[in-house]
């Protein structure tokens, strides 16, 4: 039921109190004129500070193994680019390609930004963070909250480096994200996640591909309007088993 909020949040922010009440009533099936009783006080249960360490560790210069079941949990993530997005079902293939081309920090998909580096996208100056997620997924909603940025209507750029001791053939890159996204491997587009998606493990899989010996650069972009921006990514073999014989670095 809650997704109406996910859908309408940015729109509602611009309306008066009256029109906000009208839209809420319409969308949730509340009868016209219905006045929701105020909630009683709800105690805060945990840490609410804007602190990255609640959800992430700072990425070190030491390579790490992937998370349990092969998930790639170390990423360089750029501060979010603010976007006005009312509904996530606008994320068609064309929309994503055009948006990611327009709101890009660099056309060269083989460049690995440096942790802490500042880049300009449009008129926004944005900082790169090198982070290890404490969970299999990389929760961008939490990232944005932790650095005290907006929570909704955001585009995130992502980069990570996969190190392979040997060439690994016949694997697939898989990902799930909320809501739309694209991923590139060594400069080539391999995943398109269009539409209003949820973050589901192995939601989309690439064709069989080869991870070369040494460094493989993954570029990603995830965009979300209302809702909890989030993604997960890993490699699986031909039988669907996770690829774990890799390591992850930030440079």
């Amino acid at each position: 039921m809650n997704k109406i909020r996910k859908s309408l949040h940015p729109v509602l922010a611009f309306f008066t109190l009256f029109s906000l009440q009208f839209f809420v009533n319409t969308a949730t099936g509340q009868p016209p004129g219905f006045q929701r009783p105020p909630l009683p006080p709800i105690p805060i249960k945990g840490d609410t500070t804007h602190t990255l360490s609640r959800h992430f560790s700072t990425a070190t210069n030491t390579k790490i193994a992937p998370y349990t079941n092969g998930f790639v949990h170390r990423w360089l993530v750029l501060e979010p680019i603010k976007k006005d997005i009312a509904r996530n079902n606008i994320f068609t293939d064309n929309y994503l390609r055009n948006t990611f081309q327009t709101d890009n920090f660099l056309d060269n998909y083989l460049v690995v930004p440096k942790d802490g580096e500042m880049v300009k996208v449009g008129n926004q100056d944005l900082k790169w963070y090198g982070l290890d997620s404490k969970t299999f997924n990389f929760n961008l909603f939490n990232f944005s909250y932790d650095i005290n940025k907006p929570k909704y209507g955001l585009l995130f750029w992502l980069v990570t480096v996969i190190d392979c001791p040997e060439e690994i053939q016949n694997v697939r890159m898989t990902a799930g994200c909320n809501s739309g996204g694209m991923f590139w491997l060594n400069g080539k587009e391999v995943l398109m996640l269009s539409g209003d998606r949820d973050m589901i493990v192995d939601n989309v899989a690439s064709p069989l591909l080869t991870l070369k010996k040494g460094k493989n650069i993954i570029r990603g972009a995830v965009i979300n309007g209302p809702g909890m921006a989030n993604f997960c990514l890993r490699f699986i073999d031909e039988k669907g088993k996770p690829v774990k014989s890799i390591s992850i670095s930030k440079n």
């Binding site: 039921m1 809650n2 997704k3 109406i4 909020r5 996910k6 859908s7 949040h9 509602l12 809420v24 009533n25 969308a27 949730t28 099936g29 509340q30 009868p31 219905f34 929701r36 009783p37 909630l39 009683p40 709800i42 105690p43 805060i44 249960k45 945990g46 609410t48 509904r87 996530n88 079902n89 299999f136 939490n142 799930g176 909320n178 209003d196 949820d198 973050m199 589901i200 493990v201 192995d202 939601n203 809702g227 909890m228 997960c232």
Partner: protein, 476 residues
Amino acid sequence: MKFKLIVFLSILLTNTVKGQIGKPFIHDPSTIVECEGKFYTFGTGGGGLISNDGWTWHGGAVRPGGGAAPDVIKIGDRYLVVYGATGGSTSHKGIIYTMWNKTLDPKSPDFKYSEPIIVATSDGYEENDAIDPGIMLDPTTGRLWLAYGTYYGYTRIIELDPRTGKLKAGNKPVDVAIVCEAADLIYRDGWYYLLATHGSCCDGANSTYNVVVGRSKKVTGPYIDNVGRSMMEGGGKMVVATRGRLIGPGHFGRVILEKGVEKMSIHYEADLDQSGRSVLGILPIVWKDGWPVAGEKFKEGTYEIESVRRGYGLELAVDFTRMANAPRGFGQVNNDPIKPVPNQELADVIKNWPNGNINVRIGDYMHRPHQKWTITDAPDSTGYLGGPYYKIVLEGTERALTATADAQLITVPAFTGSPEQLWRIDQLTDGTYRIMPKIVPNSNKKLALVSAGDSTPSLAEFDFASDNSKWNFRVH
């Protein structure tokens, strides 16, 4: 006559696409429950729907507190109603309340809700939104469990005290899923199932709601889908998705009518035949390889009615008429051109049939006119949970299948609409069907069409454990 035909066709077309009839407009319905012979479901915003028969629905159910997405369960002789105080808010602060009532009938003198009790909250910062509760009384332990949450973070499970409806002392929420809404718990054959809604709601025909399931041996999970994914990873096997012009099903609830007969209550985000409004839906639950999946609302058409007992077809007890085509010598050279053999038609044989009542039997299905049954919604507005009564006639005729006072079957030359000519058709949990007359004349018994012998149909009490009670509808 032309007008009547148009009306008839209109009814046909309308009924084939509607989930329910009447005014079944609701969003986020609670699991349908029966109370004193009527069916109830409550929705977002307060209020809900009532039905006398489970097919025609109208407003009138009463639930105070507003909020959203309630659920209801009968425990002992009381009804426990749970609901979220908000319909989801931008702050993600939410509360789940429970309250009791002795009856759901707002006209009853016993109708009085108890004061709502808080059983779960979300503070706006934690990764959970305390709305969309679904409740289950564990049939193996008597323990009461409640799932709640939305796309925002985790779906959680808590344990309640079934005597008070309060949070069980010391209980802490357990995270069991992500990217879900409207989760519900059910139990069957040693497995706990978590059914939840994925996708987006509240966008009419563009809503992508669908219901998925994972299962676990423990009520607290982990709930795993059919390919081994945890629902904590977004996993889930599809139970029901958009069906034709009924868009975006969500908010699953399970109704067990009797052994082998189960229904799910859902809503469709948009019924494109009813202004795209959100409507109540009721579908059979079929269990396949240990997983629940939505069955089919029976579709009108012409069928072989096949007995599961033997695989024979229900037929008129008339003389078998040979077709002119006869086998040629096998193994001999035959260079004649290959051409289709026409079907035996009704006109070829009906002149040999009696004019009055004719018995029915079950026989080798041969694709003959006396074995083809046309089944349509009866011109009668009554029904049962999830379906209308049907008229069953021999194809091309008005000869109607009829229950007799001695619990047998006959066909009568003309359909009159009398209740012994109206048939209830339920898809069973194994995917086969039960066929029941609306009434058996001079009897209060609920009887179903059975195979008393391989070739002998009769009416008897339904027994899910016996293939004698089960039928399939085959299209040839």
